[in-house]
Amino acid sequence: MSELLTPSQTVGPYFSMRLPWPEGPYVVAADRPGAVTIYGRLIDGAGDPIPDGLIETWQADPAGRFAHPDDPRGPVPDGDLGFRGFGRCATGHDGTWKIVTLKPGPLPFGDGRTEAPHLDVSVFSRGMLDRSVTRIYFPDEDEANAADPVLQTVPAARRHTLIARPAEDGYLRFDIRMQGDDETVFFDL
């Protein structure tokens, strides 16, 4: 018999007193070889920026592994021990956020299939009583994206909302739209 969970509540307008920290957006330092900047805007149903939002990302390392006891492949080999895989960024007055990270590797799905490189994303803000969960996929992975077991379950017409777009300076752009014509795909976790 499982217990009732502690319910989720909104982060409210003042989470930035505590939750952001200066290095939060930097999963790796910006000058690390291979560092990629993913940025975008968080947008509400009226098309307006959400200036009091919080974006969190979680991902595998470039080898597709996690330094975590529940990764059945065991401990991450030495070179990647410094990679935390977790990013956190509050949105600015114009709804923008960014994460500087390394591109994750592809992941075994557990049944012989392979997941394309991706980041899991949690979206929080005032007016959100629970987080919304989405994923960021990469635009240079057409083949892997087409074979991805999660993307395959997303209606074809909406898949593009989960794939970052190439932007200037080698950045990747990923806008998160809570509602509207191009509403981002959100997941039931």
Partner: protein, 251 residues
């Protein structure tokens, strides 16, 4: 599965089992569209959600540990030269999963108003005094039994713009990671007997009445520190693993 030279279990041909985390019971969490809380209107998804299976990215999560915090982070009354105004309280409890297993080594972050109901934040305009000796932010890591403990000040109530004469009941915001992406939760701790609770659309956004009471701390005379501070117990329950999967307890 086979066993490597280092004694690690190596999945063959990329096939392996992973823990599955239980789905919250219906009504346990608030619906994202809760009209009584007006700001949810433009900020909730309208399209159907897509089911996300619990695979490697979901059953792992950031293990944010010691490097981030110091002892002082858990005592909000000693972060400045002087003592803050207000009623000193101890807020403590256990973080466990819905299967009853303690969740050790997990980051607990809190933020709250001062005794007058004022947050230390640039966008906060409630005309109540700031307290130069109180920031209202804390951090702790749970111990091997999933336990945490903060020393802080009883927060105040404050007005907000949701509807005419709206006041938030006193609360402390809590943010937790657990040990997997599936377990992440941000919640609010409320105080027993607060007359504003029945009037608050955020507290009352939770449909299940029993689940709602999980957010109310319990006054504990046994845990007060005589001559010094009152105490409230606030246990936090995160999603557990479904029972069908064989699992080893966390070391």
């Amino acid at each position: 599965m086979s066993v490597s030279d280092q004694g690690l279990i190596v999945p063959d041909a990329g096939k392996f089992d992973l823990p599955e985390y239980v789905k919250p019971r219906r009504g346990n969490h608030p619906p994202l569209d809760s009209p009584a809380y007006k700001s949810t209107g433009l900020r909730h998804p309208k399209q159907p959600l897509v089911l996300l299976p619990h695979r490697l990215t979901e059953v792992t999560g950031p293990l944010l540990g010691d490097g981030l915090i110091s002892m002082q982070d858990a005592d909000l009354t000693t972060q400045h030269a002087g003592e803050p105004q207000g009623q000193r309280i101890i807020v403590f409890g256990q973080v466990r999963d819905s299967g009853g297993r303690p969740v050790p080594d997990t980051l607990v972050e809190i933020w709250q108003t001062n005794a007058a109901g004022r947050y230390r934040h640039a966008r906060e305009h409630h005309p109540a005094p700031l307290d130069p000796n109180f920031d209202g932010v804390g951090r702790a890591i749970t111990d091997s039994g999933g336990r945490y403990r903060f020393i802080t000040i009883q927060p105040g109530s404050y007005p907000w713009g949701n509807h005419y004469n709206a006041w938030r009941p006193a609360h402390i915001h809590f943010s937790l990671y657990g040990r997997a992406f599936t377990q992440r939760v941000v919640t609010q701790m409320y105080f027993p007997g607060d007359p504003l609770l029945p009037l608050d659309p955020i507290y009352n956004s939770v449909p299940d009445d029993q689940a709602k009471t999980r957010m109310i701390a319990e006054f504990s005379i046994d845990d007060t520190q005589p001559e010094w501070a009152l105490a409230y117990r606030f246990d936090i329950v995160l999603r557990g693993r479904s029972q069908s999967v064989f699992e080893e307890p966390h070391a």
